[in-house]
């Protein structure tokens, strides 16, 4: 109890210290002016002249006071409090305006909250990747001598190894995105496009809403067909959402692609992609290839279990193929990209996997 009283008293001193400081400054400057005035009068000036000369010498009384005041710490908080009090006074003086302002803000916030909630549940909820808690990103992490971790670009050999050797992974696929220029049939525009390996659609578990996914033949190496899946937004912009889009062609960076399907609204994975086309990787290549890879674990597999298996696969790869610099610790890891709750699932969508 006594300690509480002491704390309160200290707080009070800090607060009242401010006005004491103000009084101190005022008195000191007044005393300065008096002395200065007296000195000027001593030189034979009139009282009025002396006062003016003294003030001139002080270099502006108010500005001197202001400088001293601003040197004190905590000034910013004090002016904030002044602003708050000023706002409060003004609002009390104009109750009509205040009521309307509060009403407007309240309705605005309420309405946007309502709209966002509805949009989220109607549009976003049905969208997530199928069983997204089974999806992981595959990453190559290298740790140098100083313990710094770096993410390396994934080489095709790792994807091959995961597909061939992992018992815990159901499917895996890789993708690489790039900007392409879309021309013909309207204004040219930049489109983020993604080249995807076979099994990509099965891995992420999202099917086109119009048309069909790529066929096995279209995804095989040396396939002559240039086909593409397009995003819902692109479909609306270029084809007004018409089903005739399927089978029509798009010219991208001087290559012509035939549209075979349209992905669901809001599906823009990865990185705002609006177009997807098949690609193949050179089998077994160990050069980093700017790839991102995703894998779908078998039901019931945990990320920890998967990473134990991947560590074994990596050890084997290094032994057999010498795919990594032995002086560094290189790991192949699976990073989960969504928790299983529906709320985080939609939130994690763009970054996943």
């Amino acid at each position: 109890m006594r300690r509480l009283v002491a704390a309160l008293r200290r707080r009070w001193r800090e607060l009242s210290g401010r006005s004491r400081f103000e009084r101190d400054v005022r008195e000191e400057l007044d005393s300065y002016l008096e002395m200065s005035e007296a000195a000027h009068r001593g030189e034979g000036q009139s009282a009025e002249q002396a006062r003016r000369a003294a003030r001139l010498e002080l270099g502006g009384l108010e500005s001197a006071r202001e400088t001293l005041r601003s040197q004190r710490t905590g000034t910013r908080f004090e002016t904030l409090w002044q602003d708050v009090r000023f706002a409060g006074r003004r609002m009390r003086r104009q109750p009509g305006f205040t009521a309307i302002a509060i009403l407007t803000l309240g309705l605005g916030m309420g309405a946007s909250t309502a709209v966002v909630s509805v949009v989220r549940s109607v549009l976003a909820a049905p969208l997530p990747f199928r069983d997204s808690d089974r999806l992981v990103r595959l990453r190559i992490l290298s740790t140098d001598a100083d313990g710094r971790e770096r993410q390396l670009s994934l080489a095709p050999v790792f994807l091959d190894a995961v597909r061939d050797r992992s018992r815990l992974i159901e499917r895996a696929a890789a993708q690489r995105f790039q900007d392409l220029t879309l021309t013909g049939g309207g204004d040219p525009e930049r489109v983020v496009a993604t080249a995807v390996t076979d099994q990509w659609i099965e891995t992420i578990g999202v099917q086109p809403v119009v048309g069909r996914p790529f066929t096995g033949a279209e995804q095989r190496e040396g396939s002559a067909a240039r086909v593409a899946l397009i995003g819902h937004g692109l479909w609306q912009r270029r084809f007004n959402g018409s089903p005739d889009a399927i089978g029509s062609t798009l010219r991208l960076d001087d290559r012509v692609y035939t549209v075979v399907g349209v992905m669901p609204p809001q599906f823009r994975y990865p990185y705002e992609s609006e177009l997807w086309f098949p690609t193949t990787l050179p089998a077994g290549a160990a050069e980093p290839a700017d790839l991102n890879a995703a894998a779908r674990m078998r039901p019931g597999v945990t990320v920890a279990g998967l990473n134990a298996e991947l560590a074994g696969i990596m050890t084997g790869l290094i032994r057999e193929r010498g795919v990594a610099d032995p002086s560094q610790r290189v790991q192949l890891v699976g990073v989960p990209c969504a928790r299983s709750s529906p709320a985080t699932r939609t939130a994690a969508l763009p970054r996943c996997p």
Binding site: E27, E28, S31, Y32, E34, M35, S36, L58, T67, Q71
Partner: protein, 108 residues
């Protein structure tokens, strides 16, 4: 000689020096500075007071209210032990700097 602006950073040194011998009030400090420099520099109370408050807050000066010889109340400033040290240090670095400048001017 016309009045000129004080060299940057030297005001602290001069203020500390004026109160070295005995505590002085603000007006006295300004007058003493004018006297000692024979009006070479322009001392505004508006810049001397902020320096005084700052030096006090930094612990180089102490202050107390007292009666002047003309029966007025005024706030007197005096050096603290830290202020004494600071003055010695400032003085040393000023002397080193001015010696260096003199060497340049006379050596060239």
């Amino acid at each position: 000689m016309p009045e000129r602006d004080l060299l940057q950073g030297t005001l602290d040194l001069l203020v500390l020096r004026t109160v070295q011998l005995e505590p002085l009030h603000g007006y006295g400090i300004v007058q003493r500075l004018k006297q000692l420099t024979r009006g070479t520099f322009h001392f505004h109370a508006g810049s001397v007071f902020p320096a005084l408050y700052r030096l006090e807050r930094e612990g180089y000066l102490t202050s107390h209210w007292a009666q002047t010889e003309h029966n007025r109340r005024a706030k007197y400033y005096g050096l603290t032990p830290a202020g004494r040290k600071r003055l010695a240090a400032e003085r040393k670095s000023w002397e080193a700097a001015s010696l260096a400048i003199r060497r340049v001017l006379e050596g060239a």
